[in-house]
């Protein structure tokens, strides 16, 4: 009975850990993506300010940030919520509560043994052998573990199945946040990748403008340094875009690891190998518990 109740546990624990890792990577990469584009937006604005200062001066109302505090705060809150989701899943599917239950049943067994040794109790009840009490406590432990496993697996299965769609929506929306640069005809561009690509483009032209306008005033070393920046801007433009694209891949991976988590609970011990693994897992736990009673 215990075996069937604990069917998904070993798979789920591994997959929750994998989901948690994927989540940390994806959220930290996405946060970096936003910060990078925002920081480069600031640098682009500075480059434009420097180039246009003689004609336009500085307007203190110029927006120097790409993102508003609210856009970032909402995403940060979402990431914290997801992190909490992974932590709570790991907490429930860990052996912590089963260990606590083992400790409680052990204490219960000790109390029964003590009661059994009480002279007054012996007089009013037929004394049970200590072996019988150990067997009874082991049975209580096995039944209790079954209920714990059954309850948590049923509850967690329902929750992660319900979360399949929201997780997909979250990942897809974050992927859409990052978007893509426009093609050669100017079509299809959106999100952070489009913004980033344009920013580097503007920075490149600002740098060219700076060199053109100051060609006669710059000393050779400064001029060489300014010119050397041009290919590095183009190179960085491509590197940042590839990094943003890689971030989208980590989000796709996150979606996949959550799907794997759902699958862990969909599987009803499909292979003999899994059955044996689960049998060993649960059998060992019950065996260890029984041995721990004998040692006391």
């Amino acid at each position: 009975m215990v075996l069937f109740a604990g069917c998904a546990t070993p798979h789920a624990q591994k997959r929750i850990a994998a989901f948690s890792t994927a989540l940390s990577i994806a959220t930290s990469n996405t946060t970096d993506a936003f910060e990078t584009v925002d920081q480069k937006f600031y640098q682009t604005k500075i480059a434009l300010l420097v180039n246009n200062y003689d004609e336009k001066g500085f307007n203190p109302n110029t927006e120097m940030r790409f993102l508003t505090g609210q856009d970032l705060a909402v995403r940060e809150e979402l990431f914290k919520g997801l992190q909490l989701y992974a932590e709570k899943l790991a907490d429930i599917m860990s052996d912590a509560q089963l260990k606590e239950f083992d400790a409680e049943t052990k204490a219960f067994g000790a109390s029964l043994q003590k009661l059994n040794g009480n002279d007054a109790f012996k007089n009013i009840a037929d004394g049970s052998s200590s072996t019988n009490i150990d067997a009874f406590v082991t049975a209580v432990n096995a039944v209790g573990s079954f209920f714990i496993n059954y309850k948590r697996e049923k509850g967690v299965r329902e929750i992660i199945t319900e979360m399949k769609q929201p997780i997909e929506n979250i990942c897809n929306t974050l992927i859409s946040d990052i978007g893509q640069p426009m093609d050669n005809h100017g079509a299809g561009g959106l999100g952070l990748r489009n913004q980033s690509w344009l920013q580097y483009d503007v920075m490149l032209k600002a740098q060219i403008g700076f060199i053109d306008h100051n060609a006669g005033k710059l000393d050779p070393a400064t001029k060489a340094e300014a010119i050397a920046k041009l290919p590095s801007i183009v190179e960085e433009q491509q590197k940042v875009d590839l990094t943003l694209k890689a971030t989208q891949n980590t989000l796709k991976k996150l979606k996949k690891t959550h799907d794997e988590l759902v699958k862990a609970f969909d599987e009803t011990c499909p292979t003999l190998e899994n059955l044996i693994a689960e049998l060993i897992h649960e059998g060992k736990r019950v065996g260890d518990f029984y041995k721990s009673l004998e040692k006391k």
Partner: protein, 118 residues
């Protein structure tokens, strides 16, 4: 009707229109041979960049609204996980109660034997 639909451009269509303009200006910029021409073109391109920036911002902002709804879903699920953990704790707590009962019975019987012949 069809005319009305045509007038309502999607966000992406608007981005594409300005994107195409930006690219055309880009071609013109790289073809220009004088600093004056380059300055003039990059000046206009700068204005298109500002518009595209606003459109990219609008896209992020529309996603922010979607995330607000998703946050409440995640928070609700986290509350349900808390409740599930509490339910499991109740099973553990029941054994704890049984232990306390056994201990109390032991204690009562130990004291009772002093006063009654049991």
């Amino acid at each position: 009707m069809a005319k009305e639909l045509k007038n309502e451009l999607t966000q992406q269509e608007v981005r594409d229109i300005f994107g195409a303009l930006y690219k055309d200006l880009d071609d013109a910029y790289w073809s220009a041979t004088t600093i004056v021409d380059k300055d003039r073109i990059s000046g206009i391109q700068g204005a298109v960049f500002d518009i595209l920036t606003e459109l990219n911002k609008a896209h992020i902002k529309s996603n922010t609204e979607k995330f607000k709804e998703l946050i409440s879903t995640v928070n609700n699920v986290n509350k349900r996980l808390d409740m599930l953990k509490k339910d499991i704790d109740k099973i553990i707590h029941k054994i704890d109660v049984a232990t306390r009962v056994a201990k109390t019975v032991d204690k009562v019987l130990t004291q009772a034997v002093k006063y009654f012949k049991i």
